[in-house]
């Protein structure tokens, strides 16, 4: 295999790591250290590597010991700190497709060495669902690095003969162990990493142990290496590029390494074992480049090109510690080992301090058997207590035995033999038993060479001494002071050394010094891996209305409102925004204009107590509202502050339709359900979101009747604030006479499928399309506040000048009592006001501060309201400055809205300010610009509501501009009229939410996986009584679909969702990349998440799924599915 290192062509062998190949090619110096720039070589053979960090392709920093060699690999050494090459790391330069997936199991085994393999085997035999993960390309763990024989044969034979159950993930590193047995792992794949989220009922940690070094002078030279690493390179990779080695053996594994090195043809100059004669390595010597050429043992100098250091072993307790388990220091092992568990977990083998191969296998069998038994032995019924993994009682830390009686509908059954009954034999092994290691952490040297505790961070014993000398006693403080343990390796080789050195410096036992906190991730993880496919347009769901494609086709400029894309304005012929908005406003004030208002939240509210419930939620009365009438309402939080507003209509005695603001739709539904379920559960009322079911077009303007005559003729003469269920374009729709502009206005609703047809018909009937900016201008001219713009959670209805909407008759509503609190009742609160700038062409800045009239003068600098020096207004500002005021200047309020009004021919604004009234003069300050303004009442246009009823239809002989004919209507509308019928679209074309994806779905479909939309499926949501059909969504909530005659009280939600169907053997492979629940135990259907949207997931059979998705999220989910399929 050919590769390059710093541009130099080299060759390696298949199966090499980059580190092995570099050693094979004679590379001794792989890089320079971060702080001191000292030459460094390969130090380990695994993820604990502190030295051999390289850039590989677009990856700025990887441990060469973890990089599998591939043909054409290009690696560069790092000088000092690694840098992200933005151009190389960009999407274009990186063909990787990272992804994620959710897995569930009874027993997760982390680590594929002898203990983990044994545990997985035993758990599988006991019938458990098992996942085994290991970070190496091959299973075997340390057996791969050794010459150990099992039953007289190479250990790999034993590995290969194992019958491993369940899912085996190699090249997969568990990086985080979180609450409730949630383990996150990174699988390295050639096409990009996969981040696995695993929820396990029991976890067996078999993560092995890391050999450690110890601190002695010159212990960082290229050529100084962990003994286990030298042994791994010699045994596993056949790389032993050394002539003569010294082994510093504080533990017996050093002797084993020496034997292996001899077998690989390396001469052993000496084994320095402090336990034998107290001899220690006291220093090293190097050649001109700094590469090791000799080892100092006291006064003796031994020529050597390898110093293999066996400082002792540290059980890899990282994941155990992340799980909140507490480690303890084992005096015999001179290492921190797992102490008290905090979760349903057990460590087995070397990570529990059981280093021998036979011991580890036996421990693994026991751990696997125990874990499987634990998942099987649970009793209880579903829902009886804290069911499932990791919830109370699954952890050893639970103090209450009663907690452990947890529900377990999916208890495992034994698959084969009972544990121990054959098949779980511990093989014979030729290993020698390990003796006690030397308790040695630091060697006083004779030379001036630094003795390193942390090679990656270049932290020396002297640095640690400085920290303890400065009075630091906590290992956490020393870590932060010296940065020891904060490198890319997170101190895997240094952590114990730092503790040992501190213990020597402080004269305390290592157990008293303790360890620093082990935090995820265990190994570095790239942001690309964490992001997975949630990038670009999939990074956050984009919600779209039924009319979205029509808006795009008209060149709309969109703005984000929550997750929605809403047309902001519709520029014509490249006109700038200001001109477009002026034109749109003009159309609405003088003729007719239309806006897509589908994003407004809509909640269907039913039940005998619906009116009484709304009386509790809104500040005004709804129980007295006449059937067929609409009323504007405000709702407050318990703190009395405005939470949301909207118009709610009484459709029938026990049936209301509430509308909410676009951004608050979900929050309001949550709010209603919260109060109903947690405070007034006895009330007969239920709530169903119909936001997506109804597509809504707001038609506003004096000529609005002409448009309504074309699309919903029976609603033309609807009185103000009334509603009609009526044919719209020949389909059952709803028309409300509601105005948010002060003009004659209607909100026309049709089911989602007809939304686009309605929009086109309204425009064809002469309405000018307008966007949210025009809507904002029109409502501001009328002084209508917008929740979230004029309010910010500190504003009461009274502050908005809306005391009229706060009922004095009702004994109770949410927020009432808070309105009586001294703070909310005080007179000097900020209130909604209107502003007119002196300069009628100057638009105020939203958010600008309002101060008393005049210009701030010299006051204390920190209190002065002033912008950057360059923008300061020097001298008296022009126009109406009534002289300077003394600084500092109190802030009286701020501008909440500011626009240019076509109707007023000038700019204006809304603001919240205290202690001011009409006629007062203020100064608006923003960005160093001051603008004099006059306070006015916050109604700028048609204060008497004279325009509310618009103009009658021309046929009625009214004074409408344009006369009797439809002369101002578009060509299209006239064309329709030429057949003699009214200008009305008779045949509305239905369009399903995923209609635009049909071709792409078909293109990716095949025998392995087929995806399609099941369009136009009639659907109802049912509350209360079990309808006996459909999918049960909640305690008394069902979704019924199909060719069924609906019963009384069923809420038509046919437009609320659509169905995407996934069939084929690969369906689950797609779903697990975005669905967190366990598909294997899915009870027919579930409401859950897929990607980043809520869905109802129905399994109709093996590999046969239906996904019910909200219509507005369909575009997102369709793109997400196509992306998932392309990443398979």
């Amino acid at each position: 295999m050919r590769f390059t290192f710093d541009g130099r062509p080299m060759e390696g062998e298949p199966g090499d790591t980059l580190a092995a190949a570099l050693l094979r090619g004679g590379v001794r110096i792989v890089g320079r250290s971060v702080e001191l720039g000292r030459p460094r070589g390969v130090f380990t053979a695994g993820p604990e590597e502190p030295n051999a960090l390289v850039r590989v392709g677009a990856d700025p920093m990887l441990a060469a010991t973890t990089v599998e060699l591939y043909d054409g690999l290009e690696a560069w050494s790092l000088r000092g700190k690694g840098r992200v090459d933005v151009s190389a790391a960009s999407d274009a330069g990186d063909g990787r497709r990272c992804d994620k997936g959710y897995l569930h199991c009874d027993v997760l085994v982390v680590g594929g060495g002898p203990a983990g393999l044994a545990a997985a085997t035993a758990a599988g035999m006991a019938g458990a669902r098992v996942i085994l993960m290991d970070d190496q390309p091959r299973l075997g763990g340390d057996l791969l690095n050794s010459r150990t024989l099992l039953d007289g044969r190479p250990a790999t034979d034993w590995v290969d003969a194992l019958d491993l159950p369940g899912r085996v993930l190699t090249r997969t590193t568990a990086i985080g162990y979180y609450d409730h047995n949630y383990v996150v792992a990174v699988e390295r794949r050639a096409r990009g990493e996969r981040l696995w989220h695993v929820r396990a009922r029991r976890v067996v940690l078999a993560t092995g142990a890391h050999e450690r070094s110890l601190a002695f002078p010159g212990n960082d030279r290229p050529g100084v290496m962990l003994a286990s690493a030298a042994r791994a390179y010699a045994n596993r990779y056949g790389v032993a590029p050394w002539r003569r080695a010294v082994v510093f053996a504080c533990t017996d594994s050093g002797h084993e390494a020496a034997r292996d090195l001899v077998a690989a043809g390396v001469e052993i100059a000496e084994i320095v074992d402090p336990r034998v004669d107290g001899q220690v390595v006291t220093g090293t010597t190097g050649d001109a480049e700094g590469v090791l050429n000799g080892v100092q043992v006291g006064a003796r100098h031994l020529e050597a090109d390898l110093l293999a250091v066996a400082g002792g072993w540290n059980p890899a307790v990282h994941l155990f510690s992340q799980s909140q388990g507490r480690v303890r220091f084992d005096e015999d092992l001179q290492a921190f080992v797992p102490g008290t568990s905090a979760q349903a977990e057990r460590s087995a083998g070397a990570c529990a301090g059981r280093y021998g191969t036979r011991e580890a296998i036996a421990d693994g069998y026991a751990a696997g058997t125990e874990a499987a038994e634990a998942t099987r032995s649970r009793t209880g019924a579903a829902g009886d207590g804290a069911a499932g993994t990791g919830v109370a009682g699954t952890g050893a830390a639970s103090s209450d035995p009663a907690d452990r009686e947890v529900a377990d509908p999916g208890a495992v059954q034994p698959r084969a033999a009972e544990p121990g009954a054959g098949g779980l034999r511990v093989p014979e092994c030729d290993e020698r038993p390990l003796g006690r290691p030397a308790a040695l952490w630091v060697v006083e040297g004779s030379s001036d060479e630094p003795a390193f505790a942390d090679l990656h961070r270049d932290v020396t014993v002297a640095d640690l001494a400085r920290a303890t000398g400065a009075g630091m006693r906590s290992v956490e403080h020393v870590k932060r002071y010296t940065t020891a343990g904060t490198g890319a390796d997170q101190g895997k080789t240094s952590g114990a050394v730092v503790v040992g050195v501190m213990s020597a410096l402080l004269g305390a036992a290592p157990g008293q010094v303790g360890t620093t906190t082990f935090r995820p991730p265990y190994t570095p993880v790239s942001f690309a891996t964490l992001a997975g496919r949630d990038r670009g347009e999939l990074s956050d769901p984009v919600r779209t209305t039924a009319m979205h494609d029509a808006h795009v086709a008209r060149g709309a400029v969109f703005e984000d409102v929550g997750q929605w894309k809403r047309p902001w304005y519709f520029p014509q012929d490249g006109e700038p925004m200001e001109a477009a908005v002026r034109r749109e406003c003009h159309a609405a004030r003088t003729a007719v204009a239309a806006m897509d208002a589908s994003t407004l939240g809509k909640i269907d509210i039913r039940g005998a107590d619906a009116g009484a419930f709304l009386d509790l939620i809104y500040t005004n009365l709804y129980s007295t509202l006449a059937v067929g009438a609409c009323r504007y309402g405000l709702m407050c939080g318990a703190d009395g502050m405005v939470f949301d507003d909207g118009t709610t209509t009484r459709l029938a005695e026990d049936h209301y339709l509430m509308t909410t603001t676009t951004g608050n739709a979900a929050a309001v539904l949550d709010w209603l359900e919260e109060w109903h379920q947690t405070e007034w559960p006895g009330m007969d009322v239920s709530f169903t979101s119909v936001t997506d079911h109804w597509a809504t077009v707001a038609v506003a303007g004096p000529h609005a009747r002409r448009v309504i005559a074309a699309v919903a003729p029976e609603a033309v003469e609807l009185p103000f604030m009334r509603y009609a269920a009526t044919d719209v374009l020949g389909v059952p729709g709803r028309v409300f006479r509601i105005s948010f502009s002060g003009e004659l206005a209607y909100e026309v609703n049709v089911p989602w499928a007809y939304g686009r047809a309605l929009w086109e018909a309204v425009l064809a009937a002469g309405a000018v399309p307008y966007g949210t900016e025009t809507m904002h201008v029109l409502r501001a001219e009328k002084g209508f506040a917008i929740v979230g713009q004029e309010t910010d959670g500190t504003v009461t209805p009274q502050d908005l000048g809306m005391a009229w909407i706060v009922s004095r008759r009702k004994p109770e509503f949410v927020g009432r009592r808070s309105h009586l609190r001294p703070d909310t009742a005080r007179e000097d609160r900020k209130r909604l006001i209107g502003l007119l700038p002196d300069d009628p062409g100057a638009r105020l800045e939203e958010g600008a501060q309002l101060v008393a009239a005049g210009r701030p003068t010299e006051g204390p600098a920190e209190d002065r309201v002033e912008g950057p020096a360059g923008d300061r207004v020097e001298g008296p500002a022009e126009g109406g400055v009534e002289g300077p005021v003394e600084g500092p200047v109190p802030m009286l309020g701020h501008v909440t809205s500011a626009y240019h009004s076509a109707a007023l021919g000038r700019t204006f604004g809304l603001a919240l300010a205290r202690g001011v009234g009409p006629g007062d003069r203020l100064t608006a300050v923003s960005g160093g610009v001051t603008q004099p303004v006059t306070v006015v009442e916050p109604v700028f246009y048609d204060p008497d509501n004279a325009r509310r009823d618009g103009e009658p239809l021309p046929d009625d002989g009214g004074p409408a501009a344009g006369g009797r004919s439809l002369g101002h209507f578009s060509e299209e509308a006239r064309g329709r009229q030429s057949d003699g019928r009214p200008a009305r679209v008779r045949e509305a074309r239905a369009e399903s939410p995923a209609a635009g994806f049909a071709a792409r779905f078909e293109a990716v479909s095949g025998p392995a996986l087929s995806v399609r939309e099941v369009p136009f499926e009639p659907m109802w949501e049912v509350r209360g009584q079990d309808p006996g059909v459909g999918l049960r969504l909640g305690p008394s909530w069902w979704l019924v679909s199909g060719d069924i005659v609906p019963r009384d009280g069923w809420v038509d939600v046919s437009g609320q969702r659509t169905i995407l169907e996934l069939t084929g053997p690969q369906a689950e492979d797609v779903l697990i990349t975005g669905c967190p629940i366990d598909l294997e135990t899915l009870p027919g259907h579930a409401q859950t998440l897929l990607g980043k949207t809520s869905v109802v997931l129905e399994r109709r059979g093996p590999g046969d799924y239906r996904v019910y998705v909200r219509s507005s999220f369909t575009r997102y989910l369709a793109q997400w599915l196509l992306d998932a399929i392309s990443a398979l």
């Binding site: 979180y178 609450d179 409730h180 047995n181 949630y182 989220h197 929820r199 909140q324 905090a342 579903a382 829902g383 207590g385 804290a386 069911a387 499932g388 993994t389 990791g390 919830v391 109370a392 009682g393 952890g395 830390a397 639970s398 907690d403 529900a407 509908p409 318990a638 703190d639 949550d670 359900e673 919260e674 379920q677 947690t678 405070e679 009592r817 808070s818 609190r821 001294p822 969504l1033 909640g1034 305690p1035 909530w1037 967190p1076 629940i1077 579930a1086 409401q1087 859950t1088 998440l1089 809520s1094």
Partner: protein, 80 residues
């Protein structure tokens, strides 16, 4: 990622839920002093140890329910 047991749906990941704060804070009925009302609106316990709290299965069955969670260990158990 906590695993929380919905009484209707069974154990689900934390991100399917919305957190509802301390449980068992009833809406005061009848006359209240400003202090009593402020306590209802603004004041909540913050214990180290077991804490009875509300969760809402927002992305599932939309049920509000109470559990007990240990604020140190994050163990979750059925509210008793």
């Amino acid at each position: 990622m906590l695993l929380i047991d919905c009484p209707h749906c069974g154990p689900r990941d934390e991100n399917e839920y919305h957190y509802g704060g301390q449980a068992g804070i009833p809406y005061p009925l009848g006359e209240t002093t400003d202090e009593e009302w402020a306590a209802f609106v603004f004041l909540r316990d913050n214990p180290k140890g077991w804490f009875r709290e509300r969760w809402f299965h927002a992305h599932g069955c939309r049920t509000w329910f109470d559990v007990e969670r240990h604020t140190v260990t994050h163990e979750v158990r059925k509210a008793r």
